[in-house]
Structure formats: structure tokens, C-alpha cells
Subunit: 228 residues, 6 copies
């Protein structure tokens, strides 16, 4: 069992909203357990359904895409604040607005919880730059109802989970996605470029059960692992 | 027809979320029309259903009330940002975090759109202090599906709309409300105290049709008017 | 003797200004003693005479009430900075401008010292939301020359101190106060609503001798205690 | 009569506190008159008696000088806010915390009102850097009860007012002042160095009557004028 | 000749540093001319040699890439401040740190000058989100010594300038670049994705002579034009 | 050997830029060694050649001196960020913009690294106010290639290093320097006034070898020591 490293955990927004007390409670227990084992943890939360509703509506009014991104950021920040409060006082009751503040929270021994930072940048990219900044041993990307990366569409016949893959394999799989506010999926190319430049370890796992989180971080063979 | 004064418009959060393109579009037309008539406009938007879901969940986890208020604030700010973007470039693409910034936006000839400011303070109170600060001629409180103040529960037999009432009458009607994060209704006592200390004119009207807004501000006899 | 809890201490501004070196020195000793006993302490300081002079003058010029509140906030912040410097390095040499920053200072093991936060909100309300946020065991309200809550005007014949009272009893006593910038007294209804929603313990005591502070927090039977 | 230039006006803190409604009212009229004549105006206000009381007390407790400067800054900012509110809406209801923000307020056509900026820097130095930044035609230094620079102590036998002097003459007069928090007088060497490096015109005049301000700026021969 | 639209101009950092008085002076004239013709202008400046020196050195010490990006941002901001001061008072003397502030400066009728915003994002991406936000008619990318996009390496035999190209053509040309702090060239994929999602017009031109800027914006057929 | 005190170390900007990996690496070792010995360390870094290039150019365009100071500040901040990243995680990856933030970083047990704060103030003055604020036992001023204060120009015949001198002696030596943006040398009068008011110990030493730093702080007789 690994101990004492550091990890960034990225939650799909749909895992957090609509909110569930039991989910957040288990999440708190999982984070507590990891901190007790000596892990340094940072969290990033995506936007989700709420953001998409606003964005679709405002796009119809002709609002520019980069300002729609601001809606995505605020929506992700609302999700993030909700997680920060569930973790409080392990986390501060606030969502950092830049990378430096996130790092300082981490330096104080607390768990920073971030949403988005700037237009044009996905929350996956935020998780990636944060993972770089705190020299994280791994970046865990928690999906909602999918337990890893698949050869095809998860659930389709013939599609099977890949336990271990290279950056290039992941790149091939995610190529062809469009970049529209609120529309980032699985993982985006920008985030992957960051993963690549710092040779980070990235794990995709199903986040519906927070206990999985502990397993992944302990290295207990769940999810899909992406390495150089 | 009145001209050239200033007004603060408070929207119930439920008027804004779930978002509707036609509603926001008509709202933009209404605001434009008022600005063209020489009115100075400021907007405050409440939180709503989304905030309530988060708050109920987090309260179950034992999160302190004043931190739940922060969720209410961020949720109201998300609604407010959505309105600001619908109004853009009549509004800046940002939601002020303090009263001074709101006033400066107004001084620049733009329409400030606010959500919440601080824990322990309702968005009605925010609208009231903003109305004071810009010396607003009236504070319009737009409700969702109720066209004014009623003697009893709106819709119940025997309950009838009051076209004009005094501060004391309103105070009597709202007395007995509890102050819980996300649970502010109609109008709260703190906000009323502010209305009273500055002898502001307060109007309640049904906000489901933005055209009503123009009527109210022009003084065309809709809604319930509260005066000293 | 109680140990290891947390308390918010609210000082009437008139206890701090005009400033006295011996008072601030004793205050520092009292806070040090409490920290050594394992208490977590946060401080809120009110405005006072200086604010009232500015506010009276500017009100005569027609300055809006909510902007006069800004004067009250800055004046309370000046008092607060003076207390923070007297406590330094137990406190940071700065006065937080929002609740989240205050909580973070507390999470770092330092004593946050606040003044006001937003127009329309008394420093008592600030103390109440801070007490909620840090889950304080008690909120101590230090008065200048009055040692608790009285049945009538303190000092008048027949008026006697009440050692223990309920929220409703306190509410009755403070009812009928006006809300004018710089004019908040004893305790205001907004602050009381917050006390009630979180069922906080509130103690009124005479703050002229900082040693009283230690007694109150140790539970040694001074002042008037307000509980559900 | 000169027209359409720009001027920075520095008020001694003792002109502003204790506050006087008639003084602030006349000041507003004077500023309005100058703006109407096409002048661009910026204001800086010093600290004063209140700051000195705090500083003397805290120095006795061993608080470091640069933190005492923070008290001087907040105190000057409180004076400045009071002037900004008296001028509102010619000024924003806020006191800028850095030079850039002050310049932006000026670029919007409003009158920035500043107090102090950083420890180790007098409000005279603030006025001087602001005068540089807005390319002010003159920096007017309003004293309380002294109508200019004197050969000796004003009021002493043989001491006479100097109508016009060079930088070197002023330097000689102010040499030998000590630099202690809250103890800056007439003008300090740092501020003078800034005046010199940009060859600014500096005028000392008695600020007890705001009408003097208009005279000085119009160039109607009052006060002491300092030039290269 | 086109009139009255809006444009974002992106300067390669090497055009600005080492600084040249004549270059900045001509640049100011060019911007003034465009503003006089009714254009709304915003500027973004890249980092450059200075950033690269710091980054190379710090990378050798093991500093994380996303923190090296912070060096790139500050270095670009220093270049941007230098341009802002050269344009002052057409620009404010400050460099916005987020997109919203940049938009507000533009709404005030001033020219915002930006450097970088967040780690993981190039200054080209900043220029692209800004172009979206102000609904710019075109985004001009000024290179140092290259007058457009070439089929091969500019200057090599057989390589020729392409006057007009599609997004896909540009994408093909820039594919295969690595994303390392300080190492963004010509244009990066993230920036291109933003261009694509909002169907912006992008022009590459040689920025060594600021007069070119006026020609490009007037549409006088210089540079390489990229359109859907 | 002294232990457990606190020191502010001021680096001439030319020691940091152009950057050298070996220098920054040795610097990190020196700081680590001092922290291990129980010293509390704070760092201030000056601007340098880069700032001077920008300033000279912009001065030729008529940019006001106080805005040129902003260039000096940003340039010093870039140097400071580079040192902060070299020290990271002993330092936060950020450069504080006011004294209070610097003190808070120090209170968290980290090493604050500052550049400039406000126009009209040298980085030497910043180092002096910071030394006051953290009650530093000594302020070490590291020069580039000069190992202390000399009777004449260092290196000239007859000029010899002074091992120990009084404030007055230093004042005499530095008198006559001009105050122009980017032109502060050895030590300026403002900074000296601050040294004097708090009776700080100031040491000048050659900073080209970071090991010297450890010697100076341990009191091992290098450099020139300035005391009351």
C-alpha cells in the first residue's frame, strides 16, 4: 500500500449536483482516511447540468462563447464550494480563483477545492496544472457511471475497458471532440498536453462510490491508468 | 409618464432559473426601453431552487448556517451573471462583490447586476442598500406568479391584493418569518428596516412578463405600492 | 473550568477608542491566557464615537444611509486593526473584509479581528455569522460599563440584571430599536435571528476589565447568559 | 484666469476631522465650480489626531513602526472616504488602494479621493506620485491655519510668509524633520524628491476656507508657490 | 475602407522587448488613428526572451511547469504594462488579470492591454477569448519579421506565403507543436479551437512596422487571412 | 553562532537577472540551512537591467515618473517570483502586493519574497518596512560585486571598506543621490529614515556567493555593519 504522496482528484460535476448528503458524507470520510494515511489531497470539480442550461439559453441570445465560459466557471465554483463546505474544516470555506491561491491552501495543510479558472480552459486543464504545481503523484479523474477508458462507447457490444494505456492511446481516443463552452467530455486535448509535458500519471475511475477513490489512490488496481 | 429617475429591480431567483431565452430576451428589451427613456437601472437577482438543494443537503451534514449562506450567495451570483450576460453590453460581464463596485458600475452608465453580498443578509436587503446608494426613486420587487401583496395567502378565498400599503402594514404581514439560509420569502424585516430608514418606495409585482416592469416603473398602476 | 472550546468576542467600539495602552495590554494577556488554555478565539470590534461624528455630518449633506454604513464599517475596521496590532503576532496585522478570510485566519491558528463587512449589517451580526462559521461555543458581547442585560435601563431604580434569559426574552427587550447607520445598540434583531437559527449561546458582560473576559469564557458566572 | 488644467489637492487631516457639514458642503461647491471650469481634480487627505492617538498607544505596546503606519493609512482612508462621500456622485464612494485605481477613476471623469497607500510613505508622497501620474499642473497643499511657507515658525516675530520659492529653499526649510509614523509635517523629503524629479508646481495655502482652493487653482496669488 | 468595427491585436513579445521608443511611438500613432476612425481596439502582448531565460533556469531546478507558466504570465504582463504606458491615457496604466476586467476597460472606451491570464493558456488563447468577448471583427496576430503564414519555413526555398486560408489549413500547419511553458509558437491548437468555435477572422502579419497594423485593420490586403 | 532570530535579505536585482541555475540552487541551500538553524527569513529583490531598459524608453515618450515606477515594481516582482519559485515550497509561488500579505506568509512559517510595492518607494524601503514588521534582527543588503560600504568609490585608490559604521556616517555617504525611477543605488534616504526610526541593524555584503549570506547572518564578520 502506497503512503504519503499527493493526489489531485477531479470530480465530474454530475457527481456533485444534484447533491446527495450520503455521497458528500462518504466523500468526506474517504478524504479524511487519505489525509490520515499521510496523503496530500487537492480537489477540482467540474460544472454540469445547471451550467449547460444557462449556457444553451444564453448562446441562443448571442452571448459570446468566452463569456458563456464564465457561466461554466461560476457553476463549477458553486459545485466546488459545496464540496469545500462538506469537507470543512479540512478545506477552507472558499474556492480559490487562481492557481497560486490553491497552492497556498495546500501549503497550509488544507485541501483546496477548485472549480474553473479562466475562459477557454476546462476544469480538466485546471486539475492538470494543479497536479503539476503540487507535484502530484497522480491525477484521478472520477467519472459518473463509467469505470475507465473504453475501446468504444462504454456499454456497447465489443467495447472493453483498457486497464493501462499510454498518452498517445488516450490522445487517439479523445481526438475529434469539439471545444464548446460546457461541452468538454472525458478529457480534452489541452489538459492532455499538460499531462504530457509533465509526464503525470492519470487515472480514470467511476466516482459514484467515494470508496473507490481510496482504492485508486492506494493503487489497488481499479480504473484505467494512463502513463507516458 | 415618468422619466429620468432611477430604479432598482429585484428578481426572484425562480424567475431566472430554470433559464428561458425568450424571458431573458424580453427582459433585455424592457431594460433597453427604460434606459432609452432616461432611467438609470440596477438589478438584483435572488437565489433559488438550486441553492435550496445544496443547502438542504449540506445542512444535513452539519455545515454552519453562515457558510450555507455563502452557497446562497454564489447561487444568486450565478443567476445574476446569467442576467448580466443577457444584458451585455448594457451591463458588464461581471457580478459586483460589494456595494461600492456596484455603485461605480452605475456611475459609468452601465446596469449593475448583483446577487448576494454577505452571509446573514438576504438579496432583498442587498436591493435595499443598493436603492439607497443610488438614491433610487423606487425598488421594484418582482415575484414569480404573484402580482402583489395579499391580505392572506394569494389565491386563497377571501384573500385580496392590496394596491397601496404603508410600511407598518407590510411589516405586520411579513412578521413571523424565520431567517434560515435560502429561506427568505416575500420580504424580510432587515430589508424592510432599510426601506424605512430611507423612506424608499417599494413595489411588488408579478415578474413573469418583463413588460410589466416597464409599466411599474412608468407608474402605470400595477402591483402593490408600499410607501411611508 | 472549561477548556478547549471556541469563542467569538465582540467589543463595543467605545471600549477600544479612545485607545488605552493598559487596556490593550491587559486584553492581550487575557487572549494569550485563553489560547494557552486551548481556546480558539475570534474578535469583532464595533465602531463608535468617531464614526458617529462623521455619519451625523454626512447625513446632514444628504449622503445615502448605506454609504454612511460604509463609514461605520471603515471606522470599526480602524478599531479592529488597532486591536489586531495589539494582539500581533497572535493576530495577523490585517482586518478581513469577508467571512471566508476570517475563517481562514482562524484555521491557521491565528486570532481574526474583524470590524464591519457590508452596509445594512451591524457588527453584532458580523459577530453572529462568525460564531456560526467557526462553530463557537459562545459569543461574548462586551459592553462598556454595563455588566449584562437589565429589566429596565441599567442604573435606574427597580432595574435589575438578568443572569440568564431566553432568546424570546432578549427579543422582547431589544424590540423597538431603530436601524440607522451607527445607531445599533445592545443587540439588533438581525443578529438575534442569526443567534436563534443556530442556537448559539450569547453572553453580555462588562468589558471595561479584560480579565472579565477570561472569567466569562471559563464559565465563572459573570454577565447575562442568553440561551434557547 | 486659467482653465482646463488638472490639479491634485492635498488636505491636512485636521481640516477634515473633526468633521463639519458646512466645511464639506463648501468644499463640494468649490470642487464643482472647478470641474465646471474644465479642471480635472484629484484629492488626497492626510490622517490626523485620531491616528496619532492610536499610534501613540500602540507604540507603547511595542508594535512595529511600519504596522503603525498601517493605522495612519486606515485613518487617512477614513478621512478620505468621508470626503469622497461628501463629493459623491462626483467621486465614487470608495477610496483607491493603489495608484493605478486612482488613475482609472480619474480617467472615468470622476474625482479620486485617496488617503495613504503603503507603510513608509506619507500622504504628501501619495499626492506627489498622483500629481505625476495625472500630469497635474499643480499640487495644492492645504494647511490648517497657516497660509503658506514661512521663514521661521508662523506667527513668531520676524517670521514672514514667502510668496514664491525654489525647491532648494523648501528643502532647506524642511530639513531636519524626523520620520515617525503619524509625525509627517509641512512636507517631507521623500515627497519633495518626487516633486523635484518631475518639476511639479507645489502651492501651500490655508485650507480652512475652501473658497481659497478655487483662488489658488485659478492662480489668483494666494499661498506660497514652489517651483524649480 | 472599413470603419467602426473592433479588433484585437496580438503582439509577439519580441516586438516589444527589447523596447524601442520609436516603435512604441509609432504604435501609439497607429492606435490613435484607428480609434479616430471609430475602431474599438484591444491589445494582447506575449512574453519573450526574458521569460525564456527565467524559465530555462528554473526548469533546471525542477520547478513545476505550471509555475513556470506563472513566470511567462508575469513577463508578458511586464511587456503589456510597457505598451499600456506607451498608450496612456488611451489605455489605463494597468494590466487586467482577468477577462472581465479587460471587457470593462473596453466598455469604458479605453484600450485594454493584456499579457497572460492563467497557467496552461497561451497569450494567443488570451487574445482569442478576448476577441470573442468583445465580438471583434478580427484578431490580428503580429509576428516579428514574418509577414504571414507560409507553406514551409519562411525564407526557405519553395516556401511561399499563403494570402488566405481556412481553419483546417492552419490547423494542419500548426499540428505537431509541443506545449511547453514559454514555447508557444505561431499559434497553438487551444487558441485555434476558440477561433473555430466562434468563427473569428484571424490575420497574421509582420508587426515590425506599426503602420502595417492600420493597413490590416482597414483590410488593405497585407498578411495571411484565416477564415472558416 | 547566533540562532533563532529573524532576518530580511535584500538582493540587488542584478544578482537575480540574468538568471543562473547554480546561483539560485545555492541560494536555496543557504536559505534552507538558515531555516534549519531556526532563523525566520524574508526576502526582497530589486529590479534591474530589464526595468531600466523599459524605463529609459518610456521616459523618452513622456510617460510620468510614477508610472515608470510601476514598471520598476513589476520588473522587481518578476525577479522576486523567480526567487520564490526557486525556493518553493519553502516560499509560496506568489509575490505579495502589500506588507500585510508578506507578514501573513511569514506567520505561516514560509519565506515571503517581495519585489516593489508602490511608486515613489524603493525596494530598499520595502525591505526596511518589512524588517520593522517582522521585528528582524538584521537587514542584509546584498550587493553585486561590492563587499560593503567604502570610503570612496569601491576599487578606486585610497578607497577602503568600512567594517562598522553609524547611521550618520551612512547618511553622509549616500547624500546627494537623485531619486529617479529605476535609479536607486546603494541605499536611499527614505529607507535609511526607516532604519533609523526603528534602530535596525543593516549589513552590506557581496551577494555573488550565497554562502556569504549564511556567514553574515551567523555574524561571522563579513560585510559592513551599520548600527545606531
Amino acid at each position: 500500500m502506497r503512503k504519503g504522496g499527493s493526489a489531485v482528484i477531479k470530480f465530474s460535476g454530475s457527481l456533485i449536483y444534484p447533491p446527495s448528503a450520503s455521497y458528500l458524507s462518504e466523500l468526506r470520510e474517504a478524504v479524511k482516511a487519505l489525509l490520515d494515511e499521510g496523503w496530500r489531497i487537492a480537489v477540482v470539480v467540474g460544472g454540469g447540468e445547471v451550467a449547460r442550461e444557462y449556457i444553451t439559453t444564453l448562446r441562443a441570445l448571442g452571448v459570446p462563447e468566452s463569456l458563456l465560459d464564465e457561466i461554466g466557471i461560476e457553476s463549477a465554483n458553486l459545485n466546488a464550494l459545496s464540496v469545500a463546505l462538506a469537507l470543512y474544516p479540512l478545506s477552507p470555506p472558499t474556492v480559490p480563483r487562481d492557481l497560486r491561491e490553491a497552492v497556498r491552501i495546500s501549503q497550509e495543510g488544507l485541501v483546496p477545492v477548485l472549480g474553473g479558472l479562466q475562459p477557454g480552459q476546462s476544469t480538466n486543464a485546471v486539475a492538470a496544472v494543479l497536479a503539476e504545481a503540487i507535484k502530484a503523484d497522480l491525477l484521478v479523474n472520477l467519472l459518473n457511471g463509467v469505470d475507465g477508458v473504453y475501446t468504444g462507447r462504454p456499454g456497447e457490444p465489443g467495447s472493453r475497458k483498457i486497464d493501462s494505456l499510454t498518452y498517445s492511446q488516450l490522445e487517439e481516443i479523445i481526438s475529434g471532440k469539439e471545444q464548446v463552452a460546457g461541452g468538454y467530455e472525458l478529457f480534452d486535448r489541452v489538459a492532455l498536453e499538460i499531462i504530457k509535458r509533465s509526464r503525470l500519471t492519470l487515472v480514470f475511475a467511476d466516482g459514484r462510490n467515494p470508496a473507490v477513490l481510496v482504492k485508486v489512490i492506494r493503487g489497488e488496481g481499479v480504473g484505467s491508468w494512463v502513463r507516458p
